[in-house]
Structures are given as structure tokens and as C-alpha cells.
């Protein structure tokens, strides 16, 4: 290969490791670099925040209710006088954790179904793709609401109010978002499985599982990383939407969407209450989407930057 690509610009600069090359390309996307920094700040804030900002999330002080931002309460207080910054730090942990966990579910399910469909040459592949298309045409939010409505009480009894809802929301959001990943993986598999190096592995007697795990999957991972990144943003929006409709986490769990739900009846007297959590959702989502865009530039090996 090296002899063939001497003319390409990257060959002249010497050979980088794949990850360094990816980082070099990623750095070119200025907004993506800023977004990665913003997201890092956000994640640090919700992880380290509770150790630095020691106000409780449920300290009720009606007299200090609905105050705008001040030194004592940088993000103001809600109608019961609870500190919004402390509640947002707590809620941010949940919102971001839901996003990551739901992404893992959708990537694992999508990769599994996509690889099965991509490796099989018969009815199984067709059947799985029909299933994927069927899931794609399901109305997601109504179905999400229906599933939560039907299974909420059962899981609450099994895992406690917060744990049960967390498992349910992660499984349902992830379980309704695996289809794009499955299609991407299948498309990648269909082309990679015919390549010479896979044929060589097959000729050397590699089992189908070894072909997939050692040879095909590592080469199909780029698009999956991009789709997974964008899935985190979509899952955060889905969770906030559920909480905003009053059907997500229980009322005393202040996720960002839940804070907006509580704030929407006080828009005229306490707009700060809605603006801070809404802004946090927006920053998280826009940052993740830009990171996905930057990764698309960085991981698409055909593009020369």
C-alpha cells in the first residue's frame, strides 16, 4: 500500500498512528473542538459539582422562593426556594447518564442485528432488515409513552422508583433507536466481507465469529462511533421530553426536563427557572452534535484534509 500512496499528502509527512491521525483531522473542525471542551466542562461540573456546591437539592425555604440569580443562588431558586444550581447538577448526572447508557444499548443492539444481517446471505438477513424497516416506521414518542405507561409500576416495585425508571427509560430509548446503527453496520459488512483480507482470513480457516470480531468489525467501527455520538444527543432529548411531559422520572428527581416541566407555569414571574435547565440541555445537545460532525470529518478516511 505504502508504495501506491506516496503521492498523497499524508504520506510525505510520515506515518501517524490511526488515533493521532484522527485527532489531527478532528482539530481542523474548530466548532467541534470548542464543543468537546464545552462538553468536558459540563461533565466535570456534574461529576465534581456536588463536592464544591454543597447546598441540598431539597432544602425548602419558601420565603426565598422564585428569586433570580444572586450570589447565594447563582441560578436563582424555584417556587419552594430550592437552589436551582444544586438541582441542575444532580439532574445533569441523570440526564447525561441516561444519554450514555441508552447510546450503549442502541449501539450494542444495532451492531448485533446489523452484523447478523450483514453476514447472512439468506432469509435471516432479509427478515432482520424487514424488522429494522418496521421499527423505523413506528411512531417513537407515542410508543415510548405507551411503554412507560404500561411498565412503569412493575419496574418501580422491582428496582425502586428511581432505579426502575432509569432502567426502563434507558432500555426503551435505546431499544427504539438501534435501527440506523443496524443499517450502517449492515452496509459496511456487505462491502467489507468481500474484501481480500477477509477472504484471506477465511482461507486460513478463521471461523465466522473470528472473521467478524477480528477483521470486519474493526473496519466498520467509524460510522458506528459517529452514529453513537449523535445517539447520545437524541437520547438526552428523548429523556428530557419524557420528563417535560411529566412522564419521566418521579417528581422529586430534578432532571433537566423535569425542571423545565415544573418551571413552565411560572414563566412570567421566574423565567430564569426555565432558562438555565433549557440552556443546559441545548448546550449538551449542540456540543454532542458538533462533536459528531467533527468525528465524521476525522473518521472518513476517503476525505483528504
Amino acid at each position: 500500500m505504502a508504495g501506491l500512496t506516496l503521492a498523497s499528502p499524508s504520506a510525505e509527512r510520515g506515518v501517524y498512528s490511526p488515533w493521532r491521525e484522527t485527532w489531527r483531522r478532528y482539530r481542523r473542525h474548530r466548532l467541534a473542538v470548542i464543543s468537546a471542551f464545552l462538553l468536558l466542562v459540563l461533565v466535570l461540573a456534574v461529576v465534581v459539582g456536588p463536592f464544591l456546591w454543597r447546598l441540598k437539592i431539597n432544602d425548602i425555604d419558601i420565603v426565598a422562593g422564585l428569586q433570580g440569580p444572586s450570589l447565594a443562588h447563582p441560578f436563582g431558586t424555584d417556587d419552594l426556594g430550592q437552589d436551582i444550581l444544586a438541582r441542575m447538577i444532580y439532574g445533569g448526572r441523570i440526564s447525561l447518564a441516561v444519554g450514555l447508557a441508552a447510546m450503549l444499548v442502541s449501539v450494542v443492539v444495532g451492531t448485533l442485528i446489523g452484523s447478523l444481517a450483514g453476514m447472512s446471505r439468506g432469509a435471516l438477513g432479509h427478515g432482520l432488515m424487514w424488522l429494522t424497516d418496521l421499527f423505523l416506521s413506528l411512531p417513537q414518542l407515542p410508543l415510548l409513552l405507551l411503554l412507560i405507561y404500561l411498565f412503569r409500576d412493575g419496574l418501580k416495585q422491582m428496582f425502586g422508583p428511581e432505579g426502575g425508571i432509569f432502567i426502563l427509560i434507558v432500555l426503551v430509548i435505546g431499544g427504539l433507536r438501534w435501527m440506523p446503527v443496524a443499517r450502517l453496520v449492515r452496509a459496511q459488512f456487505l462491502s467489507i466481507r468481500e474484501k481480500e483480507f477477509v477472504e484471506a482470513a477465511r482461507a486460513l480457516g478463521a471461523s465466522p465469529v473470528r472473521q467478524v470480531v477480528r477483521h470486519i468489525l474493526p473496519n466498520a467501527v467509524g460510522p458506528v462511533i459517529i452514529a453513537g455520538t449523535i445517539d447520545v444527543a437524541a437520547a438526552i432529548i428523548a429523556e428530557s421530553t419524557l420528563s417535560f411531559l411529566g412522564l419521566g422520572f418521579p417528581p422529586d428527581t430534578p432532571t433537566w426536563g423535569r425542571l423545565l416541566f415544573d418551571a413552565k407555569d411560572f414563566l412570567d414571574i421566574g423565567p430564569h427557572w426555565a432558562l438555565f435547565p433549557g440552556g443546559a440541555i441545548f448546550i449538551a445537545v449542540v456540543a454532542i452534535n458538533f462533536i459528531g460532525d467533527g468525528l465524521r470529518d476525522a473518521l472518513d478516511a476517503r476525505r483528504v484534509i
Binding site: 424497516d133 416506521s137 411512531p139 414518542l141 409513552l145 421530553t241 411531559l245 423545565l260 433549557g278
Partner: protein, 319 residues
């Protein structure tokens, strides 16, 4: 062409059946029993409850129950809402026009923004206009509808007091005033939903246009001496719209999700807010029926997209 439409209709039936199967399995797997209330009610003797269970076939094997439910749905017997005290199909028919009005206007608004902006951005790629449009589109689809809705209320209702906060069906006034008032109260929900849609559509239109604009036949059209406007509109756009139609059809489930949220924020009496209120009131027949209606609407829009294909690219309908 009519044969093509018929074939597409026949293909839509299995997907409707598949969706109904998914919904039914979800309902059947769910813990809890629709007759639990009857069983615990001391005024209902156990034999009556058992007779009712037998009458509604609740003890039958699951595939028989599915067929029963399916044929009841097909006959228009969608059950009775105990909360609203009326038939479910009546209730949904009452609520559907508001939803379709808002979704339809929002889609039109989105197309009116996305097509000109996307096409213009694609004719001048990486220009200042393109970069600004791209960044705005990114911001637009990262702003969740519930937050834009709240921002709009905050700006246009609370601060500026230009637009009404809450949507009503019984608008006061008659004639032209009624029409104006109907339009005025729909501005915010339609804008919220439409702008969200326009953001992702603009990106679709731009990338589809960029794929087509480099092809040889476009160069040929230019070489023939056709003007820029004619080349773009007649030659490039018609072919670029084919993938755009697919992507818009694939977006429909997300549009309905957005509609549920906007209906809830602006208290529009459509089927989305009906779904939320029935969930909060444990009104299972309505919840099932509304979910199924949303599924049918998705399939219907996919069908429309397929028919549009046939019109945009006559080769497809010949296959």
C-alpha cells in the same frame, strides 16, 4: 402509474399489520389487567367478572385475542373511553383536525424555508451564506421543541404580549375576524414545529443538491446555454428532491413526537395532548387507539412519499 400506486398500497398492509402486532404484544406483555378494577370491586360478584372475561375473550390464547382485537379495530369498534364517556373513534375524530392543521402548516412552513435556503446554499458551497445557514441549521435541530416553545412563549406572549398564550377551539368573533384569530393563535406552535423541521430539511436539501450538481448532465445543460435558474430548478432540483422525499418521510415519526410536545405546551386540543391526558388518567383504550392512529399516519405519509417518487422519477413506477 395507477398500478404502481396499487402495488405500494398492498405493500403498506403488511407494515400496518406488523405495527399492530407490535402494539398488541406490548399491551399483552404489560403487567396489570384491564379488568383488575372489576376484580377488586366488592360490588361485582366473581361470577360476573368471570363472565365478562369470557365475553371479552381475555382467557383465550394470545393469537386468538390478537385476531379478535384486529377485527374489532378494522370494524371501527375502538372501545369506549371511561374518562370522556364517549366512543374512542368519536373522540379521536373530534381531536384529529387540530393536529393535522398544526402538523400540515408546520410542514409547509418547513418546506418554504428549507428548499430555497438549501438550494441557494448548495449553489454557493462554503460561501458565507452557506456557513451561516449550516450553523443555524445545526443549532435549530439541537434545540428541543419543548425549549423553543417555552422561549417563544417567554418572548412573544409574556414579554412582548403579541400572541395569545393558550390555543382555543371556540374562538370569539365571526367571519374574517375568526379566521385572523385562528391564524394568530397557531403562529407560535406552527413556528416551533416548522423551524425544527426546517433545520434538518435544509441539510438534506443542501447535501442532495450538492450530490446532483456535479453530475455531467448538469454541465451539459449549462453548455447548451441554459440560464442558471433554469438549470437549477428544472434539471438539478427535480433529481435532488428524490432522496429528500425519502428523508422527509423517514422524519415523520419525529414530527409526530414534536407535535405531541407542542400540543402539550400550547394546550392545543389535538390527539397528542389527548394521548398525554389519557396516559395520566389511565384510559387504556384511548392510549392504544391514539398510538395506533399515529402509526397509521406514519404509514400513510410513507405511502405518499412512495407515490411522489413515482411522479419525480417515472423509471421507478415502471419497475
Amino acid at each position: 402509474m395507477s398500478q404502481y400506486v396499487l402495488r405500494r398500497l398492498l405493500i403498506a398492509i403488511p407494515s400496518l399489520l406488523g405495527i399492530s402486532l407490535v402494539l398488541f404484544v406490548v399491551l399483552a406483555m404489560a403487567p396489570g389487567d384491564p379488568f383488575a378494577e372489576l376484580a377488586t370491586n366488592p360490588n361485582v360478584p366473581p361470577e360476573v367478572a368471570a363472565a365478562l372475561r369470557a365475553k371479552f375473550g381475555l382467557d383465550d390464547p394470545i393469537h386468538l385475542r390478537y385476531l379478535h382485537w384486529l377485527s374489532a379495530m378494522a370494524h371501527g369498534d375502538w372501545g369506549f373511553s371511561f374518562v370522556s364517556r364517549m366512543d374512542v373513534d368519536q373522540l379521536i375524530l373530534q381531536r384529529l383536525p387540530a393536529t393535522l392543521y398544526v402538523i400540515g402548516s408546520a410542514q409547509i412552513l418547513a418546506l418554504l424555508i428549507a428548499i430555497p435556503v438549501g438550494v441557494y446554499a448548495a449553489t454557493k458551497p462554503y460561501s458565507l451564506f452557506d456557513q451561516i445557514a449550516n450553523t443555524l441549521a445545526f443549532v435549530g435541530f439541537s434545540l428541543p421543541t419543548f425549549f423553543t416553545g417555552i422561549l417563544f412563549i417567554l418572548i412573544f406572549s409574556v414579554t412582548l404580549d403579541w400572541l395569545p398564550l393558550v390555543y382555543t377551539t371556540d374562538v370569539k368573533g365571526t367571519g374574517i375576524r375568526w379566521v385572523l384569530e385562528m391564524i394568530r393563535q397557531a403562529i407560535m406552535p406552527v413556528a416551533v414545529l416548522g423551524l425544527f423541521q426546517a433545520a434538518s430539511m435544509t441539510r438534506f436539501v443542501r447535501s442532495a443538491m450538492l450530490d446532483v450538481i456535479r453530475l455531467d448532465y448538469v454541465t451539459t445543460a449549462r453548455a447548451k446555454g441554459l440560464g442558471q435558474a433554469k438549470v437549477i430548478v428544472k434539471h438539478v432540483m427535480r433529481n435532488a428532491m428524490i432522496p429528500v422525499v425519502t428523508l422527509i418521510a423517514l422524519q415523520m415519526p419525529a414530527v409526530f413526537g414534536g407535535a405531541i410536545v407542542t400540543e402539550q405546551i400550547f394546550r392545543i386540543p389535538g390527539i397528542g395532548s389527548l394521548l398525554i391526558s389519557s396516559i395520566l388518567a389511565n384510559d387504556t383504550p384511548v392510549v392504544m387507539a391514539v398510538t395506533f392512529v399515529f402509526a397509521c399516519l406514519v404509514v400513510l405519509f410513507n405511502l405518499i412519499a412512495d407515490v411522489l417518487y413515482g411522479w419525480l422519477d417515472p423509471r421507478i413506477s415502471l419497475r
